[in-house]
Amino acid sequence: MTGNGAQASLLRASRVKKWEPVFWLLAFAVPVVMPSEALIVNEIAIVALFAVSLDLVLGYSGIVSLGHAAFFGLGAYTAALFCKHVSPDPHMGLLVSMGAAAVLGFAASFTVLRGSDLTRLMVTLGLALILLELANKFDDITGGTDGIQGLVFSPVLGKFEFDLAGRVASYYSLAVLLALFIIARRIVHSPFGATLEAIRDNRLRAMAIGIPVHARLIAVYTIAAAMAGAAGALFTQTSGFSSLDVFEFHRSADLMLMLVVGGTGWLYGGVVGAIVFKLLQDFLSSQTPQYWSFWLGLFLVVLVLVGRDRLLKPWTWFKR
Amino acid sequence: MGDFLRVDGLSAGYGEAVVLEGVSLSLGEGQTLALLGRNGTGKTTLINTLAGATRMHAGTIALAGQPLHTLPSYMRAAAGIGWVPQERNIFKSLTVEENLTAVARPGRWDVKRVYEMFPRLAERKGNLGTQLSGGEQQMLAVARALVVNPKLLLLDEPLEGLAPIIVSELLKTIERITREEGLAAIIVEQHPEAILRISHRAVVLDRGMVVHSSSADKLLDSPVLLSKLLGVAR
């Protein structure tokens, strides 16, 4: 009860669970064991990082956003322009892209501090649309609808060249995902993370216990933007091009759907959601190229009606 | 007297958890029952089950001879249940007047009479629920239960947060309407003496079961027994 009980209880949440290393080992094993799937592993890793960054803001801090693609896109274009005009070194490019996205995140955070959920949805959506239009307009820099193509990046860690099969790409993305995931994990289990959850659960009380709400939200929004920017940079660096598509609404929307599937507020929700969503999308579109979104939609409706926990236990579906 | 309210072998709880077990009690017309017990013993669960907000696992509830437990929650008001829940639950986006007229049913208690009982509410009749103070919300919750013209009033800590002068008014009113209009009432309160004084019967719960059932006077007359049952040093 007392003594070690309380401390153990608190630390339980931050302790690494037994299945976690297994999960990551399996993830890293896939491109070796199933080389033909390396490309999709890369895609999943990138979008999982993107989803985790949104979970920090949405799941842990309670800030709804339909425009997270703004940071993804800025990261993507920064990586492209950095490679084209400065240096093909992917690592520097990654850091610079994260920095650019962080700056945008910092600036944009002031727009989501106040207001209701509805205003936040509109404001975040608006920002992504603005960036999309700006990218479109300044087409001499961004390449407009054609985008920036044919980018060639230096080998990862100076040794591993990006291959056509995507093996190096998938490991690069997985490594970045894991590194940033570990950082995110520490953040959410820290006192800072607890203050975010407090702000999400009851902003009034959070203020009443001395939490500087605005400062904390600005901080997490900036961090999340940096991570989303990293995902965008990975996208450019592993595909060799960047186009207006990176700012598209469907990216922000799909991200929300992934968190619906995987669950918010537990970080792995973004990863699991990304895996399920991408695999489902891949599978369905290969089965029914025309109607795959119908089946995806049906899956989501059933998921929401039945509830994530019960979905895996079909015998509970009709019990009241 | 007759059994106006009759509860037999009631078991209820939340989800799989069983909070109440085998609870039986009866109440005659025009009688008030003081429902007492330490915290967490199931008093609110019992009120909520009678109101239909909590699922019943087993047992029966009959009001004026009619089975009540088969009715869904939203039909119990029509059946004669007036419920003042512990958390008040007034309609926050409606005004005081709207809160009352939304649920009013024909009978001796109309909106006008309720305003006479709570002049403060009359002063605030155009205010939204959110613009009321805590105590005013409490008053509104009680008023709203009255305006339903119930046969059975279920009051879960109705005196909480009310100014002393309102408390004595309210107690007098409850006593009067149960006597004059044959209303039955079950009251859960933290301070047993105030309620026992206006009650006819008393039931004490412990860990979801009835451990004492007698006339209210009997408990009032034996403070030793009362403190033993409630664990209250008074």
């Binding site: 949440a13 820290s190 203050t195 659960d201 | 805590g134 947060g161 933290q190 409630l230």
Partner: protein, 260 residues
């Protein structure tokens, strides 16, 4: 207004709050002495909670000043007032639904001790923080419920957690808004004793309707009616005041004050 200079730790001076045409707070002046056990009573809707909202900065006054330990805090942000030692509780429990009492207290204690911006260490890493949490859990009978999500806690336990949170902030000025509402009879006395037993330099302003408790707790009382101060004085003076009886206490008891 006393002519004797006492050590005034919190002072509300001519506070006015208007909402459109309604005057919720009408020129209220209230001085809280250091170590005070000061009760604020009045009819429902008199503006007691509004006054606390003004003092804590949740609401901005239409006019008037608030001075805390000699510093004018009228324009100071709410969280900064808490950092300067002014802590309040809420009439309707304001808790963190998804967190357990243990997590909640760990959060509050960490924040109070300046660890709130720590991004790296796990929440339960500091032994001194955990120890303080255990103390509070014991003090407020929350040990058994320490791992239960707040949204699943029984009502009475929620009220206790509500107060525990405030004490975890190590307040110098404590504003309690109907703290015992919903707390079982056996624990009310104990709860207020815990508050009364706070160090002598902690100043407490208490809003309550339970007159037995108020009269045993307070050494000074202010009566608020329709947003303005009706009278201020010692509990004896207030209990005998005819106006107060007429609008608030009722005439039931006579010598003994009617219980709330």
């Amino acid at each position: 207004m006393s002519g004797i200079t006492k050590d005034i730790v919190l002072s509300a001076q001519g506070l006015v709050k208007r909402f459109g045409g309604i005057v919720a707070t009408n020129n209220v002046t209230l001085d809280l002495r250091r170590g005070a056990r000061h009760a604020l009573i009045g009819p429902n809707g008199a503006g007691k909670t509004t006054l606390v909202n003004l003092l804590t900065g949740v609401l901005a006054p239409t006019s008037g000043r608030i001075v805390l330990e000699g510093e004018d805090i009228t324009r100071l942000a709410p969280h900064k007032r808490v950092q300067r030692g002014m802590v309040r509780t809420f009439q309707i429990s304001q808790l963190f639904a998804s967190m357990t009492p243990l997590e909640t207290l760990a959060l509050v204690v960490s924040q109070h001790r300046g660890l709130g911006a720590n991004l790296w260490q796990p929440l339960g890493a500091r032994a001194d923080v955990v120890q303080r949490c255990e103390e509070l859990l014991r003090q407020f009978h929350l040990v058994e419920a320490m791992d239960v999500r707040t949204e699943h806690l029984a009502y009475g336990k929620r009220r206790l957690l509500e107060i525990a949170i405030a004490l975890a902030c190590e307040p110098r000025v404590l504003l309690l808004d109907e703290p015992v509402a919903g707390v079982p009879a056996g624990e009310r006395e104990e709860l207020l004793q815990t508050v009364a037993a706070l160090p002598a330099d902690v100043s407490v302003l208490l809003i309550e309707h339970d007159m037995d408790l108020v009269f045993s707790f307070a050494d000074r009382m202010t009566v608020l009616v329709n947003g303005g101060v009706l009278v201020e004085g010692t509990p004896d003076e207030i209990a005998r005041n005819d106006e107060v009886k007429a609008v608030y206490l009722g005439h039931d008891a006579g010598n003994e004050v009617a219980h709330g």
